[in-house]
Assembly symmetry: none
Homo-oligomer: 402 residues x 2
């Protein structure tokens, strides 16, 4: 049985609050002085947490696997990233903050270049600018099909999404992107024999109009579609755990994923780290689980900026007392994956985690850092089991068996 289902069977009500504080890409590798970003940063407050509580290391998905943001956050939320799949269309829609509905079929597309006989000569249309993309998307919006709502949105450069909204529409079409040059785009075909018949017909009709509209454009005179999918069917936190969860995050991708998990997503008034904390305080009485996301650690890591990542961690540390003043019953501070500045990208290294709470068993670790966390009481585990620790420590699951 899936772990979350085991937990779900044990759920009970408890007047406690869980705070999951995620510093994106927190984990690192040693920099010039032999210490990681987190070990280099001056973090008296995080170290206090480590001294009081339990530390450990989490593999976001599985040992050795570098997660994208989708699987990384699914794991953090307790979903097995290999079982609960979020289609690329839905993920991309979430990523630009598109308010995907349960009846939607979403897909992503690339603008491409076709030659006179319709074969693909550039799968990304020379990576056109976002501005040109927006102009083309505006034209594409003119295509309508009776009885169905269609949305076309720019993502960035040559990338976009389209969403088809109609009650009962089911979609798992095959990509029309053949992944190679010198052949024409593929026809949109069902991958599930029959279930997607309706959307396959709609897609074919819509695409023929789109090709017509883009015919005289250059270099983007066609599109290649991928990741046709429905609204992700993952069980929500309400249904699974009886929680009333909130998401406080600035980036659309995390907000989208949180929505799929059933979290109430707060956007209003969030501009930066400081306003995020204000919103957290404002809604503190309204929920019992809070996913609080801090992005800049990841961006600094991606930019290979060791110093900036250190500074970001210190920014969080300074704000921590203000957050702890809310007195969460259980708080976990961790990342969704590692983004070591010396590596300059998401990596597979396990992420340090520290957790405190009245019933969290303390260990001998006194500082928050990758090396220290190896000796932590939480040990090394896959992120999808973090929810077990959070629910247990907050009294939100009961005994298994008599």
């Amino acid at each position: 049985m899936e772990n979350i289902q085991c937990l779900s069977d044990l759920k009970i009500k408890a007047e406690t609050k869980i705070l999951l504080f995620v510093m994106d890409g927190l984990g690192g590798l040693p920099g010039p002085h032999g210490l990681t970003e987190l070990e280099t940063a001056h973090t008296p407050n995080l170290d206090d947490l480590a001294a009081q509580g339990a530390s450990g290391l989490m593999d976001p998905v599985r040992r050795g696997i570098t997660p994208g943001s989708g699987p990384g956050h699914l794991g953090l939320f307790g979903y097995n990233p290999y079982t609960f799949f979020i289609g690329r269309g839905a993920l991309e829609a979430a990523g630009i903050g598109f308010d995907l509905q349960k009846i939607d079929v979403a897909m992503r597309f690339n603008f491409c270049t076709l030659d006179a006989d319709g074969t693909i000569t550039d799968r990304r249309a020379g990576r056109i600018s976002s501005e040109l993309n927006e102009k083309l998307v505006e034209k594409m919006r003119a295509v309508s099909i009776p009885g169905i709502e269609i949305f076309v949105e720019t993502v960035k450069e040559h990338r976009g999404i389209a969403v088809f909204r109609k009650e009962g529409l089911k979609g798992n079409l095959k990509d029309t992107d053949p992944q190679k040059l010198g052949v024409p785009p593929l026809q949109p075909e069902t991958s599930d024999k029959g279930v997607s018949q309706e959307i396959a017909g709609i897609a074919e009709r819509w695409l023929s109009h789109i090709y017509e509209i883009l015919r005289n454009e250059s270099p983007a005179n066609g599109i290649l579609t991928r990741g046709w999918c429905n609204y992700p069917e993952i069980p929500t936190y309400q249904d699974l755990f009886g929680l009333d969860p909130a998401c406080i995050a600035l980036y659309p991708m995390y907000r989208g994923l949180s929505k799929f998990a059933g979290m109430k997503v707060y956007i209003e008034g969030i501009k930066d780290f400081a306003t995020k904390i204000e919103v957290l305080k404002d809604v503190w009485n309204d929920h019992d689980y809070f996913f609080f996301h801090y992005k800049h650690t990841d961006s600094a890591g991606e930019d290979s900026d060791f110093k900036r990542k250190v500074a970001c961690i210190e920014e969080v540390d300074k704000a921590l007392p203000d957050i702890l003043a809310l007195k969460p019953d259980v708080i976990a501070v961790t990342g969704d994956h590692s983004t070591p500045a010396v590596y300059g990208a998401h990596s597979w290294h396990p992420v340090p985690i520290v957790m405190t709470g009245k019933y969290v068993r303390p260990d001998s670790v006194k500082t928050f850092g990758e090396t220290a966390a190896v000796s932590g009481g939480l040990g090394r585990f896959e992120a999808r089991f973090l929810i077990n620790e959070l629910l247990a420590s907050s009294g939100k699951i009961t005994k298994f068996g008599a």
Copy 2:
């Protein structure tokens, strides 16, 4: 989904080299002075690796399970020993260096003693000598069946193998060894209703000839067969990971297993540890993954010879700089299981591992040993996940999900 399949989906090309250095039966238990063989040995070079890289402990198959050489190496290579099964016939054939082909059916047999009415009085024919075994095998080779190639080979003492070679032959026959005395050998029956019909008929015919030939021998006047199986159908390293792997090992069993996994097995010129290193150097440019096997640690452990096992480990340590001079991008030094000298046999204790590479996150461990490895950054894990660490650290798998 099987772990190796998850990895396979993420495989990418990288100009890097992985060296897996296996000291057979490396793990130990404390000897007279309270330290294990590895902790007793003077190993400045292995300690250097530990100080630079990450340590940990691997359960060869699963916590508490003592592996034979087959499951032990399957795990090391990334195959779940409970999913990927290698029949005893094939394993034994590999063990004596028989060049098993994909169309072969192999089985192992014991010489036994039958009384006048054909019931078994000794299932091992008094453990006859290998010399007598060879003489009997020579006689058995006289049995031929039209349209099929048959090989009979001595293994050791009362043990042998037979291999049946014919296109399309499928074999999963039941043992003819009834595992008890006072009854006759069983008939070779199919265990898969029909698929093995042909080999069942062949086996019956062949066995009746063999009984005829051995009738007047003493004490070995019969055979009992076991582990009838085809060439192991395990996916190869080429197919799974796009690797071009090499095996440098002296013992037939490891060479056979490596062949099943798709490794190019080097034999020419290998006589001892020193020549093995020379071959490693010779073929270093031709492959991207190297399985290098050192046997004597295990033999010393099996002989309960603590001192000799210590000396073996020191022999490896001395040679290490010569091997490291090849500059593998990732190196892991470990064992396939423990063979503590004080236990005198394969055991279930986890094996220490040390791993270094540009992107291997260091830990606080400074020496290579069982006790120190407990605090290692790799943690404690099942051997089949080692391949995840090796592929990730060498850049041979990409990100999972967007």
